[in-house]
């Protein structure tokens, strides 16, 4: 048995269509069976409301008098793209204000426009024969713009890996605040209500399908950027008219210490055509698995600490290596429900047309990492191999002499097996001399907690270590913890010597 989209339209027109949310569907399938559910349900609505950084809007301002060909454009001091003819721009959600930085950005500009606030346009130009004007500053309202069209390259992630942090300091990430020592887990996504999770084969979700987008009737453009459904991480590119949107379903936000983002409410109606649709829409939080990723590892491939389901994440507590760790959602489940329910009303009232894709989206694609033709500098490229070390049993005065002779400020301290055990600086020695006490040996004054680097570590990561610890040198150690070199703030100058700058 199957239903056609025309039959579903007919049910809607006649006022006897059964429309349910994707959250309600699993129980219906459990109660009526797959065939029963197919007969009973006409449309399943999905919904999600969360941070979707890859969002923004095209805006057309109309021509000023005298006219200007805008080359650099700011909206409330947030720079927008100036490479689109004369009076068009694209404002990206994550672009930050020149003056307020992370407290205001492109997402806030979009939210201000939608709530009816005036936004200041500032633009400049070289001036041409046809566009003589060089600058313009004026206040704009959404209603006065010719077009304001949201177009989001990557929205509605099928699911998203959860995040934790194994380091001993707080991390500020796009996954929110991660406490040290795996002190919390943050996650995002509406699980059972997620659009692609209810249509993983992308039979119903594709180009041209009308959707709920921030309170407006939007449309799926096609696959989103970084679309990777082969691994369960499909995405959608979507568009909709900003003028029809509601601040209830569109909110600017700031991940402290990371940056600005836009919370987007998005829902897709799924016509229940056959048993396969029934099976797909019966998906529950318990069926959708994600990895808990350690964001303490600053590389592209971060280790997974555990696999969990959305049901476990939503329970509030996850067992991680025998410890109960509390979870936080970054997306709002209540708002996701609101989206799915509002979309349900739209379908029942015939306000949104149901169509099948005009062009399918590939359900088997796999996104690839960047092809890098040039690797960035590594510590071994700039480290100072003429490092001087000192034994832990040496007298402080000898250490002072060694520092002077070596013209250095840092002495890594090694034990008799040549392993790194500490570090002393000119400051430590000055302190010991200024306040003479019981300390006579290097061992007595050395810092035992040494921040180190390795030869193959990218220089950018070593620089972050220097900044975060407010220090000026890192001993470079090999796998046996032997000191093979030192990286000081002075060595960083070599990065600007031309070799790494093309």
């Amino acid at each position: 048995m199957h239903k056609t989209i025309e039959q579903i339209h007919e049910h809607i027109r006649d006022g006897n269509a059964r429309v349910v949310t994707a959250e309600e569907m699993p129980a219906i399938v459990a109660e009526l069976g797959e065939k029963g559910a197919l007969k009973e349900v006409d449309v399943v609505t999905t919904g999600t409301f969360g941070a979707m950084c890859s969002s923004g809007a095209f805006i057309n301002f109309g021509h000023a008098d005298p006219p200007i060909r805008m080359e650099r454009i700011w909206l409330n001091n947030v720079e927008a793209y100036g490479g689109l003819a004369a009076v068009d721009t694209y404002i990206g959600a994550t672009q930050q204000s020149d003056t307020l930085q992370q407290e205001y950005g492109g997402a806030h500009v979009i939210e201000d426009l939608v709530t009816g606030k005036a936004v200041e346009l500032r633009a400049s130009s070289r001036g041409t024969d046809c566009y003589p004007r060089r600058t313009i500053t004026t206040d704009l309202l959404l209603e006065n713009l010719n077009q304001a069209i949201m177009c989001n390259p990557r929205n509605a992630y099928q699911r998203y890996n959860a995040a934790t942090n194994s380091t001993d300091r707080i991390l500020h990430t796009y996954m929110g605040m991660l406490l040290p020592g795996a002190g919390n887990i943050s996650y995002s996504g509406s699980g059972t209500l997620n659009p692609i999770s209810n249509d993983p084969k992308l039979r119903l979700i594709g180009s041209g399908v009308p959707i709920f987008l921030c309170g407006a009737q939007g449309m799926i453009v096609g696959e989103g950027t970084q679309h990777s459904p082969a691994g369960g991480f499909g995405t959608l590119m979507v568009t909709g008219d900003l003028k029809e949107m509601s601040p209830d379903y569109l909110r600017a936000a700031t991940m402290t210490g990371y940056g600005v983002t836009l919370y987007v409410g998005l829902g897709v109606p799924l016509p229940v055509l056959d048993i396969d649709v029934v099976r797909a829409t019966a998906v529950r939080d318990e069926d959708i698995t994600v990895d808990i990723i350690d964001y303490g590892v600053p590389a592209r491939s971060r280790p997974s600490l555990k696999k969990v389901t959305y049901a476990e994440l939503r329970s509030g507590i996850v067992d991680l290596n025998g410890e109960e760790v509390r979870t936080s959602s970054l997306s709002s489940y209540r708002k996701a429900r609101e989206v799915a329910n509002e979309l349900k009303d739209w379908v029942v009232q015939g306000k949104i047309p149901l169509t099948l894709p005009t062009r399918p989206i590939d359900p088997a694609r796999q996104a690839r990492p960047m092809v890098q033709t040039a690797a960035g500098p590594r510590v071994l490229d700039i480290m100072d191999r003429s490092v001087i070390t000192i034994g832990e049993e040496v007298e402080i005065t000898s250490a002072a002499k060694k520092l002077l002779k070596g013209e250095t400020n840092h002495l890594p301290v090694v034990n008799d097996r040549k392993e790194l055990v500490g570090i002393i600086t000119t400051f430590d020695i000055s302190k010991a001399v200024a306040h003479p006490g019981k300390a006579h040996l290097v061992r007595d004054i050395m810092k035992k907690k040494v921040v180190v680097t390795t030869p193959d570590e990218p220089v950018d990561l070593a620089v972050r270590k220097l900044e975060q610890n407010n220090i000026s040198a890192l001993p470079v150690v090999d796998a046996k913890n032997h000191v093979i070199a030192i990286l000081t703030a002075m060595d960083l100058g070599k990065c600007f010597g031309g070799r790494w700058l093309k």
Binding site: S186, A253, T254, Y263, T327, S328, S332, R334
Partner: protein
Amino acid sequence: MKLLVTFSRGRGRKPIIAQVVRDTGVLINVERAVIDSSEGEALIDVPDDQCKLVKDSMAGLGADVRILDHGIHHNESECVDCGACISVCPREVFTFDDAWRLRCAEEKCILCGKCIEACPHRALSLPV
């Protein structure tokens, strides 16, 4: 009842909290304290009926004492009920109700401020 005690260490580095515990016999629960070389701030919890006694004793020793009537301020119109605050709070102030709406148990709050930073929507702030 929660009291915010601020003191400077200029006055002979008196052990104010210990002194007040001994003088009054009230068991003071220190929930949060930041003390450096020149000044300090402590958030303490005392039984309601002994609050005035503790407050007056501390003030007598030169500390500035303020009764905290409110915990963190939750702006419900900015809040989208995501729950980013839930796992960063050391006192489990935030929970979801049955409809996934965020609930804030203000009385448990020790004003550490972690949730203020963690809230993506700037919906949490210190009480005025």
